[in-house]
């Protein structure tokens, strides 16, 4: 559907994108994920035509659109700020692109009302100013406006970043439902890993203008290809050399010379170790109560490790309490020591 081949983008002497190669399938929800300044928005703007690459090609359904003007690419965009025209009503905002295409008034009216129905906007809301709508309604207008001209692809640039946490979760679900209903190929940009994991069919993790990994949410989370991805996605413990030596001494097949990581939910407290698992002695130094789960900070002597335990209301450990941390060496993700990893979470 969409193919980015060897895309290089430069701003003066600064190279923003280095040989980016991505293939997005038809109907897929594909997310560009990464910290600020990693190149994800630049890649999106290259696809939409706001930025022209120094080299490389952008093709859609086999057609090279690298040098096609923005307005002729037929790619819908939902902007971070929604970019709704404040001087127009909701109706006029949605109809804008159709009017530019010089469609007949009747046809415009029919298309606007049809798309409004699909995104759940009432006739009354169509006559309102965009400033009179809630954040969620504004998002739906932005989506309707991007979809009404019938684009083959829709690009979304952090459309949830300006909203409060509760609304973000609510709209995230709506967004996913809408994408499934329309079946449209979607490219989504975000720095929020939770958003990326819950929404996407596949994720491309960006870092410093490179793509570190492309994969399903499960692949990037549980089988992170690089140390950066493993650090950037989710919370994680890097195991100290002392802990690694202990594991080795316990007969585990691990390499203390590497950078070794383990996810918080893969560790357990005070359970009987299964074969192959190792028990480490520790003391609870701090406890964070999240309701659904509890996060413990456990001092293992050489390092403090974080563990997440389901809150069953029974096994709750107090600060200062001695516990055993159960670790399965097979859950460790190990990386060759290389470049220093900087992660802006």
């Amino acid at each position: 559907m969409i193919q980015l081949k060897d895309i290089v983008v430069k701003f003066g002497d600064f190279t923003a994108l280095h040989d980016i190669n991505v293939q997005v399938k038809e109907g897929e929800f594909f997310t560009f994920l990464g910290p600020s300044g990693c190149g994800k928005t630049t890649t999106l703007r290259t696809i939409t035509g706001f930025i022209e690459p120094v080299s490389g090609t952008v093709t859609v359904k086999g057609r090279d659109i690298t040098h096609v003007p923005i307005e002729k690419r037929e790619i819908g965009i939902v902007f971070q700020s929604y970019a709704l025209f404040p001087t127009m009503t909701v109706y006029d905002n949605i109809a804008f692109g159709l009017k530019i295409k010089k469609l007949k008034k009747q046809e415009i009216d029919q298309k606007v009302r049809e798309i409004a129905r699909k995104v759940d906007l009432s006739d009354e809301q169509l006559q309102k100013a965009v400033s009179q709508l809630s954040g969620g309604q504004q998002q739906r207008v932005a989506i309707a406006r991007a979809l009404v001209t019938g684009p083959a692809i829709i690009c979304m640039d952090e459309p949830l970043s300006n909203l409060d946490a509760k609304l973000r979760v609510q709209l995230r679900n709506e967004l996913k439902k809408m994408q499934k209903d329309f079946g449209i190929t979607t490219i989504y940009v975000t720095h929020d890993q939770e958003e990326a994991l819950t929404l996407s069919d596949r994720i491309a993790v960006f870092n410093k203008g490179y793509i570190e990994q492309i994969g399903t949410p499960n692949e990037v989370y549980n089988f992170s290809k690089t140390e950066f991805v493993c650090n950037f996605i989710g919370d994680i413990n890097r195991l100290s050399d002392e802990v690694m030596q202990k594991l080795k001494a316990a007969g585990a097949d691990v390499d203390p010379g590497k950078h070794n990581y383990v996810r918080l939910e893969r560790l357990h407290v005070n359970v009987d170790p299964l074969p192959g698992q190792v028990a480490l002695d520790g003391k609870v130094t701090m406890r964070e109560y999240y309701g659904l789960y509890i996060k413990y900070y456990i001092d293992l002597g050489s390092q403090t490790i974080k563990v997440i335990e389901k809150n069953d209301g029974v096994r709750i450990y107090e600060e200062g309490q001695s516990v055993k941390v159960i670790l399965d060496p097979r859950d460790i993700m190990a990386y060759e020591p290389g470049e220093e990893v900087e992660v802006a979470q």
Binding site: T48, E71, S81, A83, F85, T87, M88, A95, K101, V130
Partner: protein
Amino acid sequence: MSQGLDRKLRPETLLRVFGIAFFAYLFFGFMLLPCLNTLTSIFRTKNAAGETDPFAVIRFFLAGKMKRYVWNSLKLAIYLVVTVNVVGISLVLLTEYFDIKGARILRMGYMTTMIYSGVALVTGYMFLYASDGMLTSLMKNAFPDFNPNWFSGFNAVLFTMTFACTSNHMLFLRNAIRGIDYNTVEAARNMGARPFKVLLKVVLPSLLPTLFSLTVMTFITGLCAMSAPTLLGYDSINPEIVRLAGSSTADEAFPQARAALLSIILAMFTIVLLTVLSAYERKGHYLSVSKTKAKLQKQKITNPVWNVIAHIYAYILFIIYMTPVVMIIVFSFQNYSAIKGKRLDLNGWTLINFIGKQDYTYTNDRGREKTVVGAISGVFSNEKTLGGIKLSFLMSAIAAALACVIVVVACNYIFNKKKSKLSGIVLEYSLLFPWLLPTILICYSYRTYFNSNDVWYVGNTNLYSKENVRFLIIMAYTVTKLPFSLRMIKASFYAIDDELQDAARNLGSSGLSTFLKVKLPIILPSVLAVFALNFNALFTEYDMSATFQSPQGITYAMVIQGMLADATRGANMNALGRRCASTVFIMIVSGIVLYLVYGVGSRDLGERLEIRKRRRERWEKLFGKTEKKEVNKTL
């Protein structure tokens, strides 16, 4: 090759070339060259033998014969800085900071200078305080030894301008004090500071940047004062420039070069002051770091004696501000004899000062009854006055619109990400250029430079002769309004989100279409506000048209000034009444403009739709449900 040529001849390219040529023509032709001509004219003076003597004017100046005007202007500016700040700060503190009873009414009174200023205000003050003014006459009746000419010269100018120049304080200082976080006041009180200490140590320091700007602006206003010194008889720079501009070498030594020198001196002062101001502004203002700012609460003056004194002071100021307004409004509806007798006649109410014509009948020295046909006429029936109104209206509207169009086009260029930054900066600074020059210098330069058939780029036409002068006045109005328009409209361009333009382009809109359909509607309220404010200022403008001194360029303000002289002549009996009516008319026009700008103009689409909805509901309640209009009509 042909593709390259096609690209070169694209409408957008042609438009760009035309735009660059237009701005270059405007800058060089109507800003730089006329002013340079004024500057160089100082060094082109000729002595009695007809030889060029480059330093004759400077020697003349140094000999002390012109220093008086500069010193007088400086004296006025320095005094004004003190008096305007004292009164201006008082007004703001009394209405916004201290708990004074009736603060809303007081505020309205203090803000009256926003709806009438310049010649209208000065003539209003003269109506009360001049030697034949109402209050002076009252005082003279009560105290026969009272000097009827007390209101003239420096004191009268200082008094009038002190109360006329507080509008900026009421706008900007008021906003600044309202922006203070009340939590900082509470924190100071909590730490043991008494209210007066809080005012001195917390409130006033945070107002200092605004006060500094206001002080510089007041100083420049004092230096460039025109209408008050002219009408009240005070020898300062600007009236002298105008006088010299109309003089000839037969009457005195090199008047034109002297006028030029005075203009340049004024410009130098202005440049220095504005440089100081921008350097200060660049340092930045105090910004509130509060995450949740609390609204300023009015402070009660706990000491009863001080409280009474503050109330008395507030109401004395109110009386000073309101008396001319009330008197002018009342007397604009009084007949000729009531105005002449300076007493209110409850049976003498009339609209004749506004509309209609009457004959004036009187008995002469020989006891014969004489009638002067049409000697009494209203503002809208007197040809001269109506002519002035029409001319001012047209010239102000054209100039205000031109300034806005030029600035909008320029801003669209400056904010275009595709265009080079340097060309944007050059364009911006060329439009700000008139800010550095006193308006009198620009007008004087136009008057002298274009009063010839040798200026090739205006088709060798004498723009100062006959009706052409109107074009020159419009150009002067436009050029002097460019810096203000640029500052205001540029601010509204900053408010346009880049993503809006990207969205429009993504939906297929061209550059021109994006500008017309997306950007322009967003900035339109600001552009209209700037147009209205420009129009308001120019409609009653006096300084510039007085500098041109042309019979074909008699503006409304000049007509009002002329009424002072007319009042003493038999043929125009109710000139004084018409003056009052004119001032009332100006107040109404300014009031409407300010309402449109700050009332209607500041509403966004949502508010407008809400109001429309409420109006429709009220209508339906009163007259029953009407047929539903097409719902998708573009608003």
